[in-house]
């Protein structure tokens, strides 16, 4: 079976009269398998949206090739678009329609019925706002409606461009559950995000993108493993003698301040057991390396997503 997405060496340069040239996408290649949850993680202006738009067939690249479910997204074909679900970064609605009318119209375009539309409203938690005009919905509600519209056609391949950008933490968690479940139903999901923890929590594989280039692709766990960074274990100061601190550090880095002692260890299990037997667990926190460290590592820049 063909891959869900195969992208080879995409390039896109925007030319503005005043802004000059912006290389929004600069040699991007990746492959997404069917059923995979794929994330593109990068700061503002990294080129995520542009990449997605090219893959979806909304923009033509200057060069490079795209295969979607084994075929080219260009020219548009109803057979292909009928199998895609798309949520664009900016919500796009018919003006002056209610949430229900909106999704029913989209359902009609995908050849689905009113029942499916109602079901989707229920799933994204908008059933009680069904009769509200779209422009009166809150930003997060609009976002959810837009995702419902993306899913109403029962797509095989779903593109979500920063779906959780305007959501409160509770709604974000709910949406994570929804995204997990649509992926669990066998749909391929491509997600862009600035949120490290979102990529970590959801994606099978993550592409880290910066300045138009994909810097690295791996699973979140693989990234962290590859980084081979120490785990930072912090406890409140005053529970251990200076000697004991040096002993526990066993030659690895340790920093003690008035408030806390911070160990950097590659064997957190041993250190934590020792701390427990010392009864020195007050103020304990354990922080393993995360994608933030990975980003710093692959781009050489601090994360400022």
């Amino acid at each position: 079976m063909d891959a869900a997405i195969e992208v080879a060496d995409l390039r896109k340069t925007y030319r503005g009269r005043r802004t000059g040239e912006v290389r929004a996408v600069d040699g991007v290649s990746f492959r997404v398998e069917r059923g995979e949850f794929f994330g593109i993680l990068g700061p503002n202006g990294a080129g995520k949206t542009t990449t997605l738009e090219i893959v979806e067939g909304l923009r033509k690249p200057d060069s490079g090739t795209v295969r979607l479910l084994g075929r080219s997204p260009w020219p548009h074909s109803p057979e292909l678009t009928g199998r895609l679900g798309v949520q664009l970064q900016a919500s796009a609605f018919f003006e002056f329609l209610t949430a229900r009318e909106q999704i029913e119209t989209f359902a009609e375009l995908y050849g689905a019925g009113k029942a499916r539309a109602a079901e989707m409203l229920e799933i994204v938690g908008l059933a009680e706002h069904a009769n509200m005009r779209c422009e009166k919905l809150s930003g997060g509600q609009q976002q959810r409606l837009s995702i419902a519209c993306a899913l109403v056609g029962d797509p095989e391949l779903v593109f979500l461009d920063e779906p959780t950008a305007a959501l409160d933490p509770q709604a974000r968690r709910n949406l994570w559950d929804l995204m997990r479940s649509i992926n669990a139903e066998g749909r391929t999901v491509v997600l862009t995000t600035h949120y490290m923890e979102e990529a970590e929590a959801l994606c099978d594989r993550v592409a880290i993108m910066d300045a138009g280039k994909i810097r690295a692709i791996d699973s979140p766990a693989g990234f962290v493993r590859g980084l081979d960074a120490p785990t930072r274990v912090t406890v409140a100061a005053g529970q251990l003698t200076g000697e004991r601190v040096q002993e526990l550090a066993a030659g690895e880095a340790v920093a003690a301040s008035e408030a806390a002692v911070v160990f950097e260890t590659r064997d957190p299990r041993k250190l934590l057991t020792a701390l427990a037997s010392d009864g020195a667990l007050e103020g304990l926190s354990v922080r393993t390396a995360n994608l933030e460290d990975v980003f710093l590592h692959v781009t050489g820049r601090e994360w400022r997503g």
Binding site: G82, A90, F94, T105, L109, R116, D154
Partner: protein, 371 residues
């Protein structure tokens, strides 16, 4: 589980589907109806203009033409009561001043008496329409008088008789020539503003991009949008003509139904102009401004508010390039004068050619990437 869903939706789909085109028409039509400013703009604004213009020009409607006669007012002794309201004045300059102040529609100087009397008419330029109506009435009255004198002289043999049928602006009630013009203008603004505004909206809200990624083709969507706008134009025409006929005494000819295809054709031409504007403008205010810049002058050089026959020659020349002129003329011929569609073929030809050329131009220059 997802397979189940597919079956369920498939089953309902068969019962409740209306098809992409109709559902788009429904969605867009609903949106239009709920947009109060649009409804005001397309339905009420032209009606307001009609009320306004009819009351400006309408003071002369049926009412007597107000004349200031310098000289022997006996000339008008045989006039139908109610045709003229006559006051006398001995000095021409004073009379003309009074007319300029709006106290009269025409000043008439009567020189001599009996055979060979000269009736010199100074129609009002201040209120030109009332002036030209007065002029028309006086001329036809004098002709009538001449005819009587001639038939007296000729005895048995009647002299050559002309019978004047109401056929041109001057002898019509103001509403008869105002209504087609205002309708043409209304059609023009809703077409131009509608198309330009829609395109700017699409640039902003990216709806078209989203729809491009559904299985319904963009052509279906554009077709639905144009259909809604054409339906709006027809509704606008029906409401306007109904109000003009019932409220303002517009007499509709038997060919009035032919206004429908004319309005549709005109709308296509104006939509094409709107698309060009929408391609240039980046924001709604810019689109509205540019639309005004095009439609306002067009209204004034097309005889929409003010009879072309009374306009300066250069205006008449410019009007040949304006689609509003042809829509106005065609509507007037068909709706007011009751001429058959064959009489307006040139206007139809021009509107069609104009729509085609502008549509082609907008298609070629449009930056689809911006949508």
């Amino acid at each position: 589980m997802s397979i189940e869903t597919v079956e369920v939706t498939g089953g309902t789909a068969a019962r409740t589907r209306t098809g992409p085109f109709l559902s788009l028409v429904k969605a867009l039509g609903r949106g239009w109806l709920r947009d109060r400013s649009q409804v005001f703009f397309t339905l009420l604004l032209p009606l307001m203009f009609m009320v306004l213009l009819a009351s400006v020009f309408g003071s002369t409607d049926d009412a007597a033409s107000r004349l200031i006669v310098v000289g022997d007012a006996q000339v008008f002794a045989d006039a139908e009561p109610g045709d003229f309201a006559i006051s006398e004045q001995s000095d021409l300059e004073t009379a003309l001043d009074a007319m300029r102040d709006g106290d009269a529609d025409a000043v008439v100087v009567v020189e001599g008496s009996g055979a060979g009397t000269v009736v010199r008419i100074y129609p009002s330029a201040t209120s030109a329409t009332a002036g030209s109506i007065a002029e028309e009435k006086i001329t036809s009255y004098v002709n009538g008088q001449n005819l009587e004198i001639l038939s007296l002289v000729a005895g048995e043999e009647p002299p050559l008789i002309t019978e004047v049928e109401a056929a041109d602006g001057g002898s019509l009630k103001p509403i008869q020539y105002l209504a087609p013009g205002i309708l043409a203008w209304g059609i023009a603004i809703s077409g131009v503003f509608g198309a330009a505004g829609t395109i700017v909206d699409w640039k902003r809200d990216k709806l078209l991009r989203r729809l491009r990624l559904t299985p319904a083709s963009v052509r279906t969507f554009l077709g639905a949008k144009v259909s809604v706008m054409l339906a709006v134009a027809l509704g606008q025409t029906a409401v306007f003509l109904a109000v003009a006929a019932l409220g303002f005494g517009l007499e509709l000819s038997a060919w009035t139904w032919f206004a429908a295809p004319l309005v549709l054709l005109g709308t296509l031409a104006f939509l094409a102009i709107g698309v060009v504007i929408g391609g240039i403008a980046q924001t709604s205010p810019a689109a509205a401004g540019l639309s005004n810049l095009v439609t306002m002058p067009m209204a004034f050089v097309s005889g929409a508010f003010y009879p072309l026959a009374l306009s300066p020659e250069w205006v008449q020349w410019i009007s040949y390039a304006s689609p509003m002129r042809y829509l106005n003329e065609a509507l007037q011929s068909v709706v007011v004068y009751g001429e058959p569609p064959s009489a307006v073929l040139p206007q139809i030809g021009f509107l069609a050619a104009f729509a085609a050329v502008v549509a082609l131009f907008s298609w070629k220059t449009f930056k689809f990437d911006e949508l």
